[in-house]
C-alpha cells in the first residue's frame, strides 16, 4: 500500500513536553483521524509534518519519495490549516485570496469564490468585506477550509477542523472529506485531529490514538473494531471481568468497558453483553488505558 506520509522515529523536544518517538504511516487514499486528549501531542505532530515546527530527530517521507518539508513540491502538495487564527485577524476574504494566490502554485481563485458562497461566509468579489476578527469562530474555520480546499493538493492536514463547527457543518465536513478523497482516485488523503470523535466517525477510515506524546494504538477503524469489544455487565461480575478488560468504568449496579476480542469467550461466560464498539467508545477505552498506564 502506498503511504501519504511515513513517519520514522520523529522526536520533538520542548522544555516541558516531548513528542515521540513517533513511528507511523498515513495510508494514501484514506481519511486518518488523530485522536487524543488535550496535550497528547496531536498539534505538535501535525506542525512537524507540515514544516511549521522543526523536529529534533527522525524522518518524514512524503508521498513515498520526498523528505524535505520545506521543498516547494511538499508545500504545494499539502493543504494545511490550523484551527485557531490561521490567518491574520485583520484580513478579509479578499486578503486571504490575494495571499494564497501567491503563496501556493495551485490556488484557484474561482474555486475559492465558489466555496465561500457555498459555506455562506460572503463573496470575496464584493467591495465591502468583513474582517476575520468580526466573524464567528465557525465562519472563520469555514474561511480556512475554503482557502485550503481551493487548492489542488494531494493531502489535507487539518488541526481540529470540527471543533468550532456546528453539527450540520461537521456533517458537511465529513462529506467534503469523502468527496475530496473520491475525486483523487486513491491519490488523495486526509489527516485531521479531532475531539468530536462521534461526529467525525463517518469520515474516519484509519485512526491514530495518541497519549502523552506517543502513539498508543493505530489501525484501520474496521480492524480495530474487530480487535476490541465493548463489554457490559452487572456489578457482581465486575471483579473478574475487570481483569480481562483494558478499560473499565462501573458503579454499584453495572459496568462497561473495552476488552480485547480474544477475551470474548471468557467474558461471555460471565453473563456479560459483548458488542462491537463504535469509534467513540473505542477511543475512550484506549485512551483511558493509556492514561492509566502512564500513571
Amino acid at each position: 500500500m502506498e503511504n501519504a506520509l511515513k513517519i520514522n522515529g520523529v522526536v520533538k523536544k520542548y522544555n516541558d513536553f516531548t513528542l515521540g518517538e513517533i513511528n507511523s504511516a498515513i495510508p494514501s487514499g484514506f481519511s486518518t483521524a488523530l485522536i487524543g486528549a488535550n496535550g497528547a501531542g496531536k498539534t505538535t505532530l501535525i506542525d512537524v509534518l507540515c514544516g511549521v515546527t522543526g523536529k529534533n530527530s527522525g524522518e518524514v517521507l512524503y508521498f513515498d519519495k520526498l523528505t524535505d518539508s520545506d521543498s516547494t513540491e511538499v508545500r504545494n502538495s499539502i493543504g494545511y490549516c490550523s484551527s485557531a487564527n490561521f490567518f491574520p485577524l485583520d484580513w478579509n476574504l479578499k486578503n486571504v485570496a490575494a495571499s494564497m494566490e501567491l503563496g501556493f502554485d495551485n490556488f484557484n481563485r474561482e474555486r475559492f469564490n465558489e466555496l465561500c458562497k457555498k459555506f455562506k461566509i460572503g463573496d470575496p468579489t464584493n467591495r465591502k468585506q468583513k474582517k476575520l476578527i468580526k466573524m464567528s469562530d465557525g465562519n472563520r474555520m469555514r474561511t480556512y477550509l475554503a482557502a485550503v480546499l481551493a487548492r489542488d493538493t494531494k493531502l489535507l492536514v487539518l488541526d481540529e477542523p470540527a471543533s468550532s463547527l456546528d453539527p450540520l457543518a461537521r456533517d458537511m465536513l465529513c462529506d467534503i472529506f469523502r468527496k475530496y478523497i473520491a475525486d483523487g482516485n486513491g491519490n488523495r488523503s486526509v489527516l485531521f485531529s479531532t475531539h468530536n470523535i462521534a461526529d467525525m466517525e463517518y469520515a474516519t477510515d484509519y485512526a491514530i490514538f495518541m497519549s502523552d506524546g506517543k502513539i498508543v494504538e493505530q489501525g484501520f477503524v474496521e480492524d480495530l473494531k474487530e480487535k476490541y469489544i465493548l463489554v457490559h455487565g452487572e456489578a457482581d461480575k465486575s471483579e473478574y471481568a475487570k481483569k480481562l478488560m483494558i478499560s473499565y468504568i462501573g458503579n454499584s449496579t453495572n459496568f462497561e468497558g473495552i476488552a480485547l476480542a480474544e477475551n470474548t469467550v471468557q467474558l461471555s461466560q460471565l453473563d456479560t453483553a459483548v458488542e462491537k464498539p463504535n469509534l467513540q467508545q473505542l477511543s475512550v477505552g484506549i485512551l483511558r488505558k493509556a492514561e492509566k498506564d502512564g500513571e
Partner: protein, 228 residues
C-alpha cells in the same frame, strides 16, 4: 529543514504577508501619515493661537521634533510586527512557498515600504515649509537629515529585536529611537538644516548598519523561532 530559495519576488512576498499589494500598502501608509501629521500640526497651531492670541508660525525646532516623532512611528509600524507561529497568521506564513526565504523577502520589502513612506512624508513636510505653513529650516536639507536620522535609529534599534523578553525589547527600541532622534533633531537645528559631509557619512553608516542588523536579526529569528 534545508535551505530553499524563494522564487517569489519582494513585492509578492509583501503581498503574501499583508494580503495587499506593495503599492497600495505604501500609498495607504503615506496618506495616513500625512493626514495624521496634519491633524497634529493643526491642533498644535490652534492651541498656540488660542494661548498666545497670535498667528505666529511654530519654530523650526518644534516642527522638526513633531516630524521626527511621527516619522519614527511610521518606521516602527512594521518593525514591531510579530510573525511568531502562536500569533494569528504565524502558522500559515510558515507553510507558504519559499518558507523562511519568503519571510526574509517580506521583511526587506517592509523596510523599503517604510523608506518610501518616510521619504514621501518628508517631501510633504518640505512642501509645507516652502509654502510657509510650518517652518523646519532649510526645508529639503532638514528633510533629508530627518530621513537619515530616523533610518539610522531604525538600524541601531533593529539589533534589539534579538532580545527575547518582549518588554525589555520594546524599552530598548524606544530608548534607541529617543536618543538618536534627539541627537538628530539637535544637529538639524545646529546646522540649520544644511547638508554636509557628516550627513553623507551618516547615510553610508545607516546603509551598512541596516544590512548588518537585518542579516543578524533574520539569522537569529530563524535559529531561535522559525525552526523551533
Amino acid at each position: 529543514m534545508e535551505n530553499n530559495n524563494s522564487t517569489v519576488s519582494y513585492p509578492e512576498a509583501y503581498k503574501i504577508y499583508t494580503g495587499r499589494s506593495f503599492s497600495i500598502g505604501v500609498m495607504w501608509l503615506s496618506i495616513a501619515s500625512v493626514l495624521f501629521f496634519s491633524a497634529i500640526m493643526l491642533l498644535m497651531m490652534f492651541l498656540m493661537y488660542v494661548d498666545n492670541d497670535s498667528d505666529t508660525v511654530p519654530e523650526p525646532l518644534f516642527g522638526i521634533t513633531i516630524a521626527s516623532i511621527y516619522g519614527t512611528m511610521l518606521v516602527l509600524t512594521r518593525m514591531m510586527a510579530s510573525y511568531d507561529k502562536n500569533i494569528p497568521g504565524g502558522k500559515f506564513f510558515r507553510t507558504v512557498k519559499g518558507g523562511f526565504d519568503t519571510y526574509a523577502k517580506a521583511q526587506k520589502a517592509f523596510i523599503v515600504e517604510g523608506a518610501i513612506s518616510l521619504i514621501l512624508f518628508c517631501m510633504f513636510l518640505a512642501i509645507l515649509d516652502a509654502i510657509g505653513i510650518i517652518e523646519i529650516g532649510n526645508g529639503i536639507g532638514s528633510c533629508i537629515a530627518l530621513v537619515i536620522t530616523i533610518f539610522l535609529a531604525r538600524a541601531i534599534a533593529s539589533f534589539s529585536r534579538m532580545i527575547k523578553n518582549s518588554i525589555t525589547r520594546m524599552i530598548m527600541i524606544m530608548f534607541v529611537f529617543f536618543v538618536v532622534d534627539l541627537l538628530g533633531v539637535l544637529q538639524i537645528e545646529a546646522f540649520g538644516g544644511k547638508i554636509g559631509l557628516l550627513h553623507v557619512v551618516l547615510a553610508v553608516v545607516t546603509i551598512v548598519l541596516t544590512i548588518i542588523s537585518e542579516k543578524a536579526v533574520l539569522h537569529n529569528y530563524r535559529k531561535k523561532y522559525w525552526d523551533n
